[in-house]
């Protein structure tokens, strides 16, 4: 069993990070990010053409991370592949030694760098989760037996702060019923809203890893508010970073506070460093999560 899964399922507080594969074939910068995060991360998410912009595939990059001796969380979106491709890539992932899956919808191509592209969305994230669960049970989407099943730890995304909450709650419950065993969330800014989501997840025996963004500059905050789907930095947080003499330092201090607070509610934290990879070990250590 994967170490990450063992930690998560045994109730340890986990830390995950995130890297983006390169636009091209030179993986040196990506590898440097992996090394920067590996000392404190139990697993590292490898994004799948994030923001609908072209990158090296998550499958290949996850394999690279795995070969480096670090556990990847293989992200799959529904945007770029139909059900045949999704299934064969999931089988490929398992044969590559990738054991943890994060199944997400994917941003619309219109928000990315190939706005002319056709969004596939043959399946949605719930159906992708169901498909992966079927693989774990030894059968494909058509119910045919696989020669060699998988045993993925299946994760899903959630956005605990998005309203209306009753509908979000229904979504979370549907994803768990479909087979999601853990969630990774969008950046958390409101602990009360995160708590209500955690309660729903824990009631079903699943786990939730809370997202933390390192808001390293006012420019990054503007980018997030204007460009990133489904994310909004609250005014009081934006003001704190804007007013700071050293915005990057303030962002790290904020992340440390958030990590400390989330430690009481969540099953782990997912740090999205937005380029400040080197700050991640400090955030985790100063939050008292790891030595």
């Amino acid at each position: 069993m994967s170490h990450f899964r063992e930690l998560l399922e045994s109730g340890s507080f986990v830390v995950t990070g995130e890297i983006a594969p390169p636009l091209g074939t030179d993986i040196s910068a990506m590898a440097a990010s992996v090394w920067a995060l590996a000392s404190v991360c139990d697993a590292i998410n490898v994004t799948d053409n994030q923001g609908a912009t072209l990158h090296l595939s998550s499958l290949a990059a996850s394999r690279v991370v795995h070969e480096m001796g670090v556990e990847p969380i293989f992200q799959q979106t529904c945007r770029d592949r139909n059900r045949l491709a999704l299934q064969s890539d999931l089988l490929a992932a398992w044969t590559f030694g990738l054991t943890t899956l994060l199944a997400v919808t994917g941003d619309d191509p219109r928000s990315g760098d190939h706005p002319e592209a056709k969004g596939v969305f043959d399946l949605d994230s719930t159906q992708l989760i169901q498909m992966a669960r079927g693989f774990n049970e030894g059968h494909d989407m058509k119910g045919r037996d696989l020669k060699g099943a998988t045993d993925f730890l299946i994760g899903a995304a959630m956005f605990p702060e998005a309203e209306p909450w009753d509908i979000q709650q229904a979504r979370i419950e549907e994803k768990m019923a479909a087979g999601a065993r853990f969630f990774q969330t969008q950046a958390v800014f409101d602990l009360d809203k995160f708590q209500r989501a955690a309660d729903v997840v824990h009631a079903a025996g699943a786990k939730v890893i809370a997202g933390i963004l390192v808001l390293r500059s006012p420019r990054v905050i503007r980018f997030i508010n204007e460009r990133l789907a489904g994310l909004m930095v609250p005014d009081h947080i934006a003001a704190r970073i804007e007013r700071a003499e050293d915005a990057a330092e303030e962002a790290v201090l904020l992340a440390i506070e958030q990590a400390r607070a989330l430690r009481q509610i969540a099953d782990g934290v997912h740090v999205m460093p937005l380029g400040l990879d080197a700050a991640v070990p400090r955030i985790i250590r100063e939050a008292g999560i790891k030595e």
């Binding site: 059900r83 619309d108 998005a162």
Partner: protein
């Protein structure tokens, strides 16, 4: 209703130039393109005037009842046979189905003057919205009469996706999220907002190319049910 948009005029002119056409017959459509204000009589006459201003000859024009109706269009072509015969090309201000119906009735080159964009509801005069994609596998019984395949920009059957914020869509920012609307209406009808997820769509039911033949198998004109 098939919703069409006018094709960029310069492109229409290049199409005609590529055909070496200086004499043009124009066909509109009395049905959808009339309602869409893209290929009714006023638009056909405007195109005629513009071509003439630009030095071309318009040999004639017609706006039949329904341009995509093969029988009707054959009649229309017969009515205007001399005018079409004396033209170098036929410019069609109708949807793509209409353009092809016209092309089937003449040996002259036929060229489109509109872009066909979607099957639309007429919300009010001049406002059209896409509500159905004719997928062949209707889910409206499960979705409170709101089609997620069409009205969710990603076409997700189960949602909302992670981009929904305060009930609004992330892709088309001034739209309410289809999946929020569906679940709200289900709740208003006393139905569960959380149910078994909809299964993946059966795209084999999307006939491509589409063809339906409901005629009785052994001839005659007796009523035949939809098969």
């Amino acid at each position: 209703m098939i919703i069409t948009r006018p094709r960029e005029w310069g492109r229409i002119r290049r199409q005609l130039a590529d055909l070496g056409a200086t004499r043009v017959f124009i066909t509109g459509c009395g049905e959808c393109a009339t309602v869409a204000h893209t290929g009714g009589e006023p638009e056909v006459l405007a195109a005629k005037e513009r071509l003439e201003e630009e030095g071309l000859t318009v040999t004639g024009w017609s706006v039949g009842d329904v341009t995509c109706h093969a029988g009707g269009q054959r009649l229309e072509a017969r009515k205007h046979a001399c005018e079409i015969e004396s033209a170098d090309a036929v410019l069609v201000l109708a949807c793509g189905a209409g353009v092809q119906t016209v092309a089937d009735t003449t040996t002259k080159p036929v060229t489109p003057g509109l872009e066909s964009v979607f099957l639309g509801n007429v919300v009010r005069n001049g406002v059209f919205e896409e509500r159905c994609q004719m997928c062949g596998d209707c889910v409206l019984d499960r979705t409170a009469g709101i089609c997620p395949v069409t009205t969710c920009p990603k076409g997700l059957l189960n949602g909302p996706c992670g981009g929904m914020w305060n009930g609004m869509c992330e892709v088309v920012a001034d739209r309410e999220c289809t999946h929020v609307l569906i679940r709200r209406r289900l709740a208003e009808q006393g139905r569960a907002i959380k149910a078994e997820p909809l299964p993946p769509k059966d795209y084999s039911k999307k006939l491509k190319p589409g063809r339906v033949d409901i005629r009785p198998k052994h001839g005659g004109r007796k009523a035949g049910g939809a098969s």
